[in-house]
Amino acid sequence: MAISTEVIELVALLTEEGYGTLAGELLTEISLGRELPPHFAQKVDPPTEEIEDEVRRVEIPEDEQLSFACDILILRLVEPVRRLAEAERGAASLLSQEQNRPDAVSIRFSRSRDDSGPTLARAEGAGQSETADALQEILTQLRSVAI
């Protein structure tokens, strides 16, 4: 299946900006094709019906690939940051002190004390997701161009 010029350019941009792994996944997903919705089949009779375990995919037309790619980036980048920000806001209500609670508690992903490596901290304020909102906005604009 041919990959569209826009997607190739998007993949290159992602790689240049430090998202090489995600860029590779994006190419793989587009090359494999779009998954069909799982069969919510009626109850099958095991002795006579073969359960479909394979996930069925269909080729993605070139003019739909950019939109498909933008949807994946929203799920893989925008949503995780938004949900982490939501987790930080929710965590504030679990502080034992009831008075003067902050709006959010910073969540950091830290290595165990026996491991080397940096702590994965967010530079964005706890509970904030403006950068995710901006990324969603630009990806939505790209989707509109694609359609």
């Binding site: 350019e9 941009l13 089949a41 479909e52 679990l94 034992s96 002190q97 165990s112 530079a123």
Partner: protein
């Protein structure tokens, strides 16, 4: 056709800001950790909203997290670490009116009957077990968790093989056969060479399915599940939570409801 140049330039600029603000998204598995943290906090809030549990954030020492504290979520697999301010944080669930206390952990490793260790993205361990480990040199809880959720932030569909992996983990953890003749239980702390000093919790079940029927077990995905995976999940009481990021949050709400049911029936464990 190339990307519109102005949009491409804007995307590059925004992506750089995004990366600078959220560096964990560039690390393999980083966005998966965000999903784990979100599910953990949502389950904690669900327990609090039930009205039957006092739920608080805790440091690695067991002390309450101060208002300006940072919740250290583990980025790598680990057991219960010895009490320390640098150890990972957790959520303490204290049953109102006295009773059973539980701890909600991220990326906690449990040790199976084969001696292999299994990392569970979000799990619940009885506080008495975790405290026994924390007050000694740390270690790994053994047995079947009260709650175990695998988090998959991939958009592709979950296959039967993924479900088999989850089941293999649960089979190894479930104490259908006892670790020691002295103890028939659900979860145990067994760090001492003398089993007399072990700490045990809950009842042992004679079969895997009866073991799995008590508790909340789930795979939470950004994508869907294949039909083959669904068969195994239904038989062995493993909830499939698909499209976790979908608007309306229907699937995550169902997981929260399942957890509240588990908490209401915790006295039967």
């Amino acid at each position: 056709m190339a990307l519109p140049s102005n949009l491409a330039l804007n995307l590059r600029t925004i992506l750089r800001s995004f990366r600078a603000a959220n560096r964990f998204t560039t690390v393999p598995g980083g966005t998966g950790k965000a999903l784990e943290a979100w599910i953990l906090m949502r389950l904690a809030l669900a327990a609090k909203q039930s009205g039957a549990w006092h739920v608080t954030l805790r440091r690695g020492t067991g002390a309450a997290l101060p208002r300006n504290g940072v919740f250290q979520f583990p980025a790598t697999r680990h057991g219960i670490q010895p009490s320390s301010s640098s150890a990972s944080c957790f959520v303490l669930l204290e049953q109102l009116g006295g009773g059973i206390d539980l701890e909600l952990h991220g990326s906690l490793q449990w040790q199976g009957r084969s001696e292999a260790k299994h990392e569970i993205d979000v799990s619940v361990v009885p506080a008495v077990i975790a405290q026994a480990l924390r007050s000694s040199n740390g270690g790994f809880p053994r047995g079947l968790p009260v709650l175990a959720v695998e988090c998959k932030d991939k958009t592709s569909a979950g296959t039967s093989d993924e479900m088999r992996e989850t089941l293999a983990r649960m089979f190894d953890l479930a104490l259908v056969t006892k670790l020691s003749p002295r103890w028939a239980c659900r979860i145990i702390e067994a760090e001492s060479s003398n089993d007399r000093y072990w700490t045990a919790w809950g009842r042992r079940s004679p079969t895997y399915r009866t073991f799995f029927a008590k508790g909340t077990f789930a795979i939470a995905r950004a994508g869907q599940f294949s039909l083959g995976a669904r068969q195994m999940s239904q038989h062995y009481h493993i909830r499939q939570v698909n499209s976790v990021y979908a608007p309306g949050l229907a699937f995550i709400l169902s997981l929260e409801g399942d957890f509240r049911h588990t908490l209401r029936s915790i006295h039967r464990f």
